[in-house]
Symmetry: none
Subunit: 123 residues, 4 copies
């Protein structure tokens, strides 16, 4: 449960949770078959409502990241080889698409954009 919640963010809490867990799965930190903590436990640990955790788990199940089995728990789903990697790029692409377009509408050249991103990547 390596999750950081920011109440300041405009991203809803349940989505923050889902995104961070899906990122962990995509990175390979959570292997297939791994059992997520029960929603009640996770809720207590993250200091949020059970329902908020449940919404996050639901989103993960809907996107195919986990399988939820009543009475047993929620488990990281297994994917065919290479699938995770392509999803990783797809997710990144989705997220970046609008921003790149926005930067272009700002008149940034390709060169300027590349430099900006390099600077930000360092943190």
């Amino acid at each position: 449960m390596d999750i950081i919640i920011s109440t300041a963010s405009d991203e809803p809490i349940y989505r923050q949770i889902a995104q961070q867990i899906s990122a962990q799965i995509l990175r390979g930190d959570l292997p297939a078959g791994f059992c997520l903590p029960p929603i009640r436990t996770a809720a207590k640990e993250l200091r949020v409502s059970i329902i908020t955790v449940k919404k996050a788990w639901e989103e993960l199940a809907r996107e195919g990241f986990i399988d939820s089995i009543v009475g047993k728990g929620c488990f990281v789903a297994s994917h065919r080889p290479g699938r995770l990697d392509s999803m990783r790029f797809q997710k990144a692409r989705q997220r970046l698409l609008n921003d790149i377009e926005y930067c272009r509408s700002l008149g940034l050249t390709r060169q300027e954009l590349a430099e900006l991103i390099d600077e930000l990547y360092e943190d």
Copy 2:
């Protein structure tokens, strides 16, 4: 009023308007002193509520892009040389920050990120 509104987007309408106008100012399409149309006119042309346009104008004024003069209208603010350019980068930086971090959490290397951005910049 070269503005495209998408009701499907999750970005609120007033913010879509404000962003597109600020981008036009930053690009230099709207010069300092340019008079924005009155909110009622803009609302009619964009087919949105007056209150929506008002919020957009307010956001632009808050960010210092326009000055509102009671009884006369809203005018594009003038900036000292180089200021617009630095704002352009600041806006882009703000927008990209979270997403670059997300891409890093996905495990993308600097190289992979650069390639992805290049690909997206082409459209």
Copy 3:
């Protein structure tokens, strides 16, 4: 709001609602652009919790049947021609698949199955 809820059914209420509305859309009874009643109104009319209606609306939005616009309402989405018809068959196929297999495991011949279905179609 031509919806019948059966508390006896093992199908959850929110899913009964979603299925009946999606069926109405697929049949063409609810045209593209049609505005669904607000969740509070629908909840009152159907005598269920607001949340139950919301879950139904969410499911419909997730499946692309409706678009939900904050502050305005939920509207039947438009589809390209022929799309609704193919979805109609896809939905039916999904639903029947398991049952046909079950009937086969029961040893029903194709002929017996056809007769049974004919009988049931009449009600």
Copy 4:
């Protein structure tokens, strides 16, 4: 014990077991008087909890497919001639009823339904 269990299915495990055994009885694969394995043995073989097998056996007994004799075991019940066959159709009818109605609500004609079933029966 020719039984396949899918934890992914939304059908509870005990019901999957009961359905597959009842199908075997209805098909005549398990003759009257046949002795089912003791629940502990079955549980071990199927890799499920004892309580799950117990529930499956109970369901079968409730439906009249088996008789449970304390201290001796569970035996496939005997039926008067023709009874099994009528039960076979009754089971199929039960299962198909809701789905045929759903297909009708989708606006499928009798003809379309028949073609769809034919297609699915082939697998």
